[in-house]
Symmetry: C2
Subunit: 134 residues, 2 copies
Amino acid sequence: MNIGQAAEKAGISAKSIRYYESVGLIAQATRRGNNYRDYGDQEIAELRFIHRARSLGFSVKEVGDLLALWRDRKRASQQVREVAKRHIDDIERKIAELQSMRATLNTLVAKCHGDDRPDCPILEDLASGKPHCG
Amino acid sequence: MNIGQAAEKAGISAKSIRYYESVGLIAQATRRGNNYRDYGDQEIAELRFIHRARSLGFSVKEVGDLLALWRDRKRASQQVREVAKRHIDDIERKIAELQSMRATLNTLVAKCHGDDRPDCPILEDLASGKPHCG
DNA sequence: TTGATCCTTCCCGTTCTGGGAAGGTCAAGG
DNA sequence: CCTTGACCTTCCCAGAACGGGAAGGATCAA
């Protein structure tokens, strides 16, 4: 199967597949006589795995770890769980940061009358140079 | 005032100040005889503004827009408010996406017993190739 | 044959810095 | 006066994860 078909089946772009190959996330694809990459069911399954893991926010590096665990029939599920839990922690930190920004911004937007006059509490706040989080 | 002092006062690195200058976010700093950049109160105020805006998640481009409005004594506060509201929308989209990821991951982690046995619902889910959001 | 649609490699651009090299400056101390 | 250390300058590389697009080869349908 050509890379284009594989990409469509896996839900990622051909560019990304080549990228994943180049950084060693997946093995070098076998080539056919015309030098085209060739993908079979196993490769498609890996690409789908990657697609799903990426869509859950795992970095390419983390996906590599998960793939290694997936390939290892003797892994301990604890290891997988740890990777996932660390990722959840990352996500929660990001959420908290974004929520904090949102709260501040909502407050500022609420204070700004938003008409054609120039005075603006939002700009005043920014100009005050308050540190946001430290 | 040297760039190092300015950086400390504004809460950003000297590297970043040079970068902001290079991309036109701030004007080229005046130079002293030794070719060192020189910063005064006005420049410090701008740098602080930038620091604060960046810490609220505005992109460098958006900070440029906000700086332009700040410098324009005849701006309409409505414009500032629009920039801020668009940014809040961005943030909310990101929060929603992260929350969705977190929910899925929490479900999976809860299903995984996390011991030394190899069977793992997390890997099974990833391998199933479910699309996450479309 | 021709055109359209694949595929290949290659390099550049994105965003926002951080790291570090090579070299100029300056202030203090021996 | 000389050295040492802490500044400053420019410049280039790195990262994360691709997308765009060029130049050229392969395949396929009419």
